[in-house]
């Protein structure tokens, strides 16, 4: 064997490869073996079963929102995740699609196109708008592109608000294009072939079909020359250009495809809502779409979907205190399981927390009986919590606030301590967190909801800075 050009390390790599270890290893290996196709079909099957499991219009509506979010995140992923262009004008395409659908399917201009014609029209128009608004990306990158495109998002809302009295020289009446702040109500429901879409449930299935087609299409595009071209231009535009990739053309293509998906989603949203209003397309929504994409992992299809599911459903779950409590304790346990290793240590912490709580509970009950006579919140965890957590009957707010300060101190201490001392502080901090939760936060659901959702996002992003399903990236050392 010639010495030059060979590499022993490569030949031995089979032996060196580290496979999954620990309790979850068999499950993770099985997950790898299944492959992306069957995994996606399993996900679709669960989604398709969802409307049959519940009759609640509210839950169906949440399901519709999740799918709308997922489609928006997938479209944004093309521009931001793959092509690496920071596009803050994305929301304008969503709004444009919705308004465009309204123009061709309402009494605004008395145009009622069949849905089979309206949707292709909306998608084409959105894609063309994408091409146009993508042009600045030829010269601008990064932050500069971001502020330019943010301007497009803002101007869209302004136009939607103000294009209701346009004076045209050849018309006697001013032209009402957008309905101003009142928007355009009373849109036609969709009708595709012979299927009428009357209920929210019908739109759920329509969205699911669109979602499935978009995911499959995007998966294949990502694996193709176009996907590689996008990623290459994101990594290094000059090198990509010199390796035969027409970078500028691919940037426009990314903008157009993202806009097409956003426009399509917008038209379905408009039909579900049977109306379009300027406040539906504000920058807050844009930030939520970005949150979904970044949380899930920009550049990953499954990540965009997972992020959308979390961002669209968790705030809804947190609406009821009972669910919020379940989620709080589940998150607490999940964080402990994920961070405390090995399992013997985890078991010790769990046991110590239970013992600590029961001991505190008993001691306080003996010393100050009123300390545990407050109203228990009850619920499915009530019987477990009643003999563990303290709920004082008097001065609940003051004691709760003190507990809050102590908990923050405990959390701060946890960040600086190491080794065994950390474990010692961990136990009372967990107890304090539960105490504050039961005494203060659960009493104010609207604040709690925001707080818990924010904390969840912070916790998840700290654990996985590249997103839940994203891949860690290195930056080009140029």
């Amino acid at each position: 064997m010639p010495r030059i050009g060979t590499d022993e390390w490569v030949e031995q790599q089979e032996l060196r490869t580290e496979y999954y270890t620990g309790l979850t290893a068999p499950a993770r290996r099985a997950f790898d073996r299944v492959g992306p196709g069957p995994r996606f079909f399993a996900f679709l099957a669960i989604c398709a079963a969802f409307p049959f499991l519940t009759d609640s219009p509210f839950l169906i509506r949440v399901g519709v929102n999740v799918l709308l979010f997922a489609l928006l995140a997938l479209g944004l992923n093309i521009v931001v995740g793959w092509a690496g262009l920071l596009d803050l004008g994305y929301i304008a395409f969503y709004g444009f699609g919705a308004y465009m659908y309204a123009w061709v399917s309402s009494s605004q201009f008395d145009v009622h196109l069949p849905t089979e014609l309206a949707i292709p029209l909306v998608v084409t128009a959105s894609a063309l708008l994408g091409l146009l608004l993508g042009l600045p990306s030829w010269r601008l990158v990064g932050d500069y592109l971001a502020i330019t495109t943010l301007f497009f998002a803002q101007i869209f809302v302004e136009l939607a608000l103000n294009l209701d009295r346009i004076n045209l020289p050849w018309r006697d009446q001013p032209l009402d294009l957008t309905g101003g702040p009142n928007g355009i109500p009373g849109l036609d429901p969709m009708r595709i072939l012979t299927i009428d879409f009357l209920q929210t449930r019908d739109y759920f299935f329509l969205l699911l079909v669109v979602f499935a087609l978009v995911v499959v299409g995007l998966y294949y595009v990502n694996e193709s020359r176009t996907g590689r071209g996008w990623r290459a231009s994101r990594e290094d535009p000059l090198a990509a250009e010199l390796m035969t990739t027409p970078v500028n053309r691919l940037k426009l293509l990314a903008f157009a495809m993202g806009a097409a998906i956003a426009g399509l989603t917008g038209s379905i949203f408009a039909a579900v809502q049977t109306g379009v209003f300027p406040q539906n397309f504000e920058v807050t929504l844009l930030i939520m779409i970005y949150a979904a994409l970044i949380l899930g992992g920009a550049g990953s299809i499954s990540g965009a979907v997972l992020g959308a599911v979390i961002v669209a459903s968790v705030p809804e779950i947190l609406r009821t205190p009972e669910n919020a409590r379940l989620l709080f304790y589940a998150a607490l346990v999940a964080v402990l399981v994920a961070t405390v290793r090995p399992w013997q240590r985890l078991a010790a912490v769990a046991a110590a927390t239970v013992v600590f709580g029961v001991a505190v509970h008993e001691l306080v009950s003996l010393a100050w009986p009123a300390g545990d006579e407050g109203a228990s919140a009850g619920g499915s965890l009530g019987w477990l919590l009643d003999s563990w957590i303290l709920v004082p009957a008097e001065h609940q707010d003051t004691i709760g606030n003190v507990g809050f300060v102590l908990m923050v101190a405990g959390l701060l201490a946890l960040t600086v301590l190491g080794g065994d001392r950390r474990l010692v502080v961990l136990v009372p901090t967990i107890y304090l967190a539960a105490f504050v939760w039961e005494n203060r936060l659960i009493a104010q659901p609207s604040v709690t909801r925001q707080l818990l959702f924010g904390a969840l996002l912070v916790a998840m992003m700290t654990r996985r800075p590249h997103g839940l399903l994203g891949t860690p990236r290195v930056e080009n050392p140029i």
């Binding site: 030059i4 050009g5 060979t6 590499d7 490569v10 030949e11 790599q13 490869t17 299409g217 995007l218 294949y220 595009v221 694996e223 193709s224 020359r225 176009t226 996907g227 590689r228 071209g229 990623r231 290459a232 990594e235 290094d236 000059l238 090198a239 990509a240 250009e241 010199l242 390796m243 035969t244 990739t245 027409p246 970078v247 293509l253 495809m257 891949t471 990236r473 290195v474 080009n476 140029i478």
Partner: protein
């Protein structure tokens, strides 16, 4: 020998600085030509002009009988001129194999909708591209083949990154390879390997090669012809021995001995 690349009175200046000054250069089909010169001589600018990164102020660049001045860089590469970068510019977060398949963009034709629907044409093209990438990587032996093909490029060692730069350039199926300091930063064993590799690129790959190199052992080992540049002007051209002993080249690299001007004697 027919000229594959011919530069005619090529000039480029940045502001008042004349980087390339009326340069003429011929590279024949199948030749290996080295460009040497001290720092700032205009070597990399020359590559940037040929590949279309900069547009020349004057002169012609004729490749395979066609003036390529003013074409977009991706078109120039597609005509058959591929380069590597002195400061490595790999697609670090893509796999080793993807780095090469990404370079086949210009030689493939599948439209987006064909890829999205995975038509038989798109699938066949993907298979061809895949096979091509494996073939190009196999040229480098086990350095880049095997499991490494599926690893991200950032996991490669420095020398392997340099090799991947060359593999990626060959992925565009070029006729002319421009190598910008392929042996920079390599240890003696790796440098020796690179010298062999450049020879093999011509012998087995059939590429014509224009190379910028500072390591004189490499230049001596590979070159049919050596061109020396200084301040954008060609100061010497010929075999390695001719150029290496040319007094103007020695002067460009080392300067002139400080001597007092002697009055001309009778």
């Amino acid at each position: 020998m027919a000229a594959l690349l011919e530069l005619r009175t090529l000039s480029k200046s940045f502001g008042g600085l004349l980087c390339i000054d009326h340069l003429d250069l011929r590279v024949g089909e199948g030749e290996i030509v080295s460009v040497i010169g001290p720092n700032g001589a205009g070597k990399t600018t020359l590559f940037n002009l040929i590949t279309g990164v900069y547009e020349p102020d004057g002169g012609e660049i004729v490749f395979d009988g066609r003036n390529i001045v003013g074409l977009e860089p991706h078109r120039i590469t597609n005509l058959g001129i591929a380069r590597t970068f002195q400061t490595l510019r790999l697609f670090l977060n893509m796999t080793v194999k993807e780095n090469v398949t990404a370079a086949t963009y210009g030689k493939t034709k599948a439209r987006v909708w064909q890829s999205a629907l995975r038509t038989p044409f798109a699938r066949r093209e993907e298979r061809e591209v895949d096979a091509l990438a494996e073939e190009k990587l196999a040229f480098f032996g086990t350095r880049l083949a095997g499991y490494r093909m599926q690893q991200p490029a950032y996991s490669l060692s420095y020398a392997n990154r340099r090799r991947l730069e060359i593999a990626r350039a060959t992925g565009t199926s070029p006729r002319l390879l421009l190598l910008d300091e392929p042996a920079a930063g390599m240890n003696p064993v790796e440098t020796h390997e690179m010298t062999e590799l450049i020879g093999r690129l011509r012998r087995e790959g059939g590429y014509t090669i224009l190379v910028i190199e500072h390591d004189m052992h490499v230049v001596e080992g590979i070159s049919d012809r050596v061109v020396a540049l200084d301040h954008g002007v060609k100061i010497a051209e010929g075999t390695f021995d001719q150029v290496a002993t040319d007094p103007r080249v020695v002067e460009a690299y080392l300067g002139v001995k400080a001597t007092r001007e002697e009055p001309e004697g009778p």
